[in-house]
């Protein structure tokens, strides 16, 4: 018994630092997808590409979730227009840095300027939208933001501005992937001579039979992880700053914060602008360049916002580490894993049946033949995945509204609230910070 307790204590101590949690999670995800690749009989380069793909999605989701966390987790602003602000960032960068000769033409500015412009555009649009709307009730703000994101998407989609935005077929003239510029002498052609920096990387990759495209995408993914780390550190720093403490105070009790002399409106607007800017950045890294570069209005439907929300709720709103965990777990386990698992099951059990609809799949069950049903479910794994997401969201709200990392809402106080310094009282169990007192009737 004590040995178990000891082991548990040791484990808890090892997993206490956030860095260990995040690293352990990524290691777990990589192992899992390595195993998937192995089961599916992929060669090593393909497994690398698969793991790379999952890592990239995890990183961009984590980035978007972090941005949402600053708005919802910290300032309590319920923004469900995330997809719209990501679209503004991605389109902004593409319009500024796309080549002037392409169609639709860009301005041809250097990429760093383009990225900066995209982030600024998302911030400005966010602020314009937010300034009047932030004084509304939370559910009104939700409706306003989702309407704004739809207005943005429909505007980009409209044929009226197709000569600037590309209309429904999207903005084709994407800026050059910075990794290609870094590693290749001619960024436009993947087979051109490598730069001095690219030379050792490509030759190493060739030894292991890894294609150049995979190399470029892997380097880009590593870059995204670095950006994610940077944003995480920035937000951690902000969370501990006076600004962050006021935000947390607003989330707990806005009236009390205002009565302490804080201009809460001002803080909320700033938090909203910061969050929208970071959403723009996530949109840029995700869609404007890199392995999944494609700027089409369909990408920015409200569903994207809901995915990011589910990820945030999984991780637990209010915690930056939780945001990264939630984003990565959502992208890997909920989004990328089901199709692989379906493929593995299909392989293993030789499911060849392909019924055209649910009735044809269910009818043979009466005769004890489960194969058609299995085949149908495996073929519709994408649809099932969305149903699963919905059910998970409901269960999370019902059973674990605080998310994976539990009540990790950092308190707004700069000193530890656990220390009871009053004389004559025994030190008591630290009470959890009040959080709105919602679930009283359970």
């Amino acid at each position: 018994m004590s040995a178990v307790d000891d082991a548990r204590g040791v484990l808890e101590r090892v997993f206490a630092p956030d860095a260990v949690k995040v690293f352990a999670m990524f290691a777990g995800i990589w192992l899992l997808f390595y195993w998937f690749g192995n089961q599916l009989g992929y060669t090593d380069p393909f497994i690398l590409a698969l793991v790379r793909r999952v890592t990239f999605l995890s990183a961009v989701y984590a980035l978007a979730v972090l941005a949402l966390n600053i708005q919802w987790g910290y300032a309590g602003l319920f923004n469900i227009g995330v997809a719209g602000f990501m679209a503004v960032g991605a389109y902004g960068t593409a319009m500024l840095s796309g080549s002037p000769g392409g169609s639709p033409p860009g301005l041809g500015l250097p990429l760093p300027l383009g990225v900066l412009g995209g982030v600024l555009a998302a911030t400005v649009i966010g602020l314009v939208a937010a300034l009047p709307a932030l004084r509304l009730k939370a559910d009104y703000l939700a409706i306003v933001t989702v309407a704004i994101s739809e207005i943005i998407r429909i505007t980009f989609n409209s044929p009226a501005f197709a000569n600037v935005t590309g209309g429904a077929s999207g903005f084709d003239n994407l800026p050059t992937n910075p990794v290609r510029t870094l590693l290749l002498t001619e960024p436009g052609s993947i087979i051109s001579d490598p730069t001095p920096l690219g030379q050792p990387i490509f030759s190493l990759a060739t030894e292991y039979g890894i294609q150049r495209l995979t190399v470029v995408n892997t380097v880009y993914t590593v870059g995204t992880l670095v950006v994610l780390l940077g944003v995480y550190l920035l937000l951690e720093r902000i969370g501990r700053s006076p600004f962050g403490r006021v935000l947390k105070a607003i989330r707990e009790d806005e009236v009390a914060t205002r009565s302490l002399g804080k201009d809460t409106q001002n803080f909320k607007v700033r938090a909203f602008g910061l969050g929208c800017g970071l959403m723009g950045l996530a949109g840029i890294l995700w869609y404007a360049m890199g392995p999944r570069a494609s700027i089409v209005p369909v990408n920015f439907r409200p569903e994207l916002t809901f995915y990011i929300f589910i990820a945030l709720i999984i991780g637990g709103s209010g915690s930056n580490t939780g945001s990264i965990l939630g984003g990565a777990l959502f992208a890997s386990l909920l989004f990328e894993a089901p199709p692989r698992i379906a493929a593995i099951i299909g392989d293993r059990f030789d499911v060849a049946a392909d019924p055209a609809n649910l009735v044809e799949a269910l009818a043979p069950v009466v005769e004890g033949d489960l194969m058609p049903l299995a085949g149908f479910l495996l073929n519709n794994i994408d649809t099932l995945r969305f149903i699963g997401m919905g059910v998970l969201l409901i269960l999370l709200v019902q059973r674990r509204p605080e998310g994976l990392l539990g009540a990790r809402k950092e308190t707004a106080s700069a000193v530890s609230l656990a220390d009871d310094t009053r004389p004559g009282t025994a030190p008591e169990r630290p009470t959890a910070a009040a959080d709105g007192g919602g679930d009283g009737d359970e």
Partner: protein, 404 residues
């Protein structure tokens, strides 16, 4: 009132409420433009910042305005019907139900599946006759030999199925009833397993749960019926008249009649029974209502039944007039429904009906100004209207009187 006084009054109005002034000025410009279009006066093509705005005024036959108005009325009644449900649940359960659009989809699919079976088998009479024949041996089997599976899954071509209010009126009536009943059943089951365990939670938690419900319903529908959009109704031999250049068919007339009847029924139900009073009390203060002896759980159940029933009917009628149906049909309409509810003031069913009509009319009549490439901006125009109302008059244009 003399002239300077009126001028002073005007200046004061502009100063104290610049937002309202801008709205009034903008409406005046649109109205002038409409008049200019009707008389055929035009003022050069205008270009602002490189974007071609088209000419001021221009030419538009009066009949086109009438036909936009009729279309707007039809879609507005559907939105109004669906908004009553959303408005009721919003005020009594105190959360924005993001799954409401998918209730509408579910109602449409279930109702039309029933209509397809009956219409596809040749109507209710042959079905009864064949059933009697199968059981007793009397009469004969007159049922058409049809593929029942593809009928249920709405995969039969619309011309073959013949789901049409003229050729198979009974099928349409039964379909409407099935849509109402199944949507109510679904709403009650969902309430029992999703919302009841978290009844006291704050609005945002419930909203998030409703997003989960929305995903669940939408993709369950996609799993069963497939994710392609299809044409459902048949226009074969459908009677239609042309009034002032506007084609009005029997489906649209059916929609208008049924929607108005349902709305009247709702009015009678809430005004003549104690239920309406209980609902108003619940919307105002749930704890107080419970203390007063109002069976709150029962009122909540009734609210879901009324709301879901009307929404299911709205979904069925929407398809009747628009013919197309896909698993995202309701979800695409959701924001317009929200706009209608907010415009009418949350909790007011008359507001919701009026809001639905305004939003429906706005989304069609705005085509007068949003011509050609701009025609995709009708929904954004309605959304923008909703945002403006939320900002300047969050209690709705009718002043936030909760009439339940």
């Amino acid at each position: 009132m003399n002239r300077t006084n009126a001028l002073d009054h005007g200046v004061r109005y502009v100063r104290t409420s610049p937002g309202a002034t801008a709205v009034v000025a903008f409406s005046a410009i649109l109205l002038l433009d409409l008049l200019a279009k009707l008389v055929g006066f035009s003022l050069g093509p205008l270009t602002v910042a490189g974007i071609d705005l088209g000419p001021f005024g221009g030419e538009m036959p009066f009949t086109r305005l009438v036909s936009y108005t009729w279309d707007g009325l039809v879609i507005g009644l559907v939105i109004g019907l669906a908004s009553i449900g959303l408005s009721l649940t919003y005020s009594i359960l105190n959360f924005a139900n993001f799954a409401h659009g998918d209730y509408l989809t579910a109602g449409a699919f279930s109702g039309w599946a029933a209509t397809y079976i009956i219409a596809g088998l040749g109507g209710l009479l042959p079905i009864v006759e064949s059933a009697v024949h199968a059981v007793t041996g009397v009469g004969q089997r007159t049922i058409r030999n049809t593929d029942l599976v593809s009928l249920v899954l709405l995969e039969t071509p619309p011309g073959t199925a013949g789901a049409n209010v003229w050729l198979s009126p009974i099928a349409v009536v039964v379909g409407l009833a099935v849509a109402v009943v199944l949507t109510i059943a679904m709403a009650l089951v969902i309430d029992r397993f999703v919302y009841k365990p978290i009844r006291g939670a704050d609005g945002i938690s419930l909203l998030i749960a409703s997003i989960g419900v929305a995903f669940g319903i939408r993709y369950l529908v996609a799993l069963v019926f497939g994710n392609s959009r299809r044409i459902v109704t048949s226009t074969d031999q459908l009677p239609e008249v042309t009034l002032i250049g506007t084609r009005i068919d029997a489906h649209e007339v059916t929609l208008v009649v049924v929607a108005i009847l349902l709305m009247l029924g709702m009015h009678v139900l809430l005004q003549r029974t104690k239920l309406g009073k209980a609902m108003r009390a619940m919307a105002d203060n749930r704890d107080l209502a419970r203390v007063t002896g109002i069976p709150t759980e029962r009122v909540i159940r009734t609210t879901w039944m009324l709301g879901a029933g009307l929404t299911g009917a709205a979904g069925f009628l929407l398809v009747l007039s628009q013919a197309g149906l896909g698993f995202t049909t309701g979800w695409r309409l959701l924001l317009l429904i929200f706009a209608a509810v907010i415009m009418g003031g949350i909790g007011s069913i008359y507001g919701a009906i009026a809001g639905g009509l305004v939003i429906g009319l706005a989304s069609r009549v705005s085509l007068v100004w949003l011509q050609g490439d701009f025609s995709s901006f009708t929904s954004p125009a309605a959304f923008a209207l909703m945002i403006l109302i939320l900002l300047f008059r969050p209690s709705g244009i009718f002043g936030g009187v909760s009439t339940a």
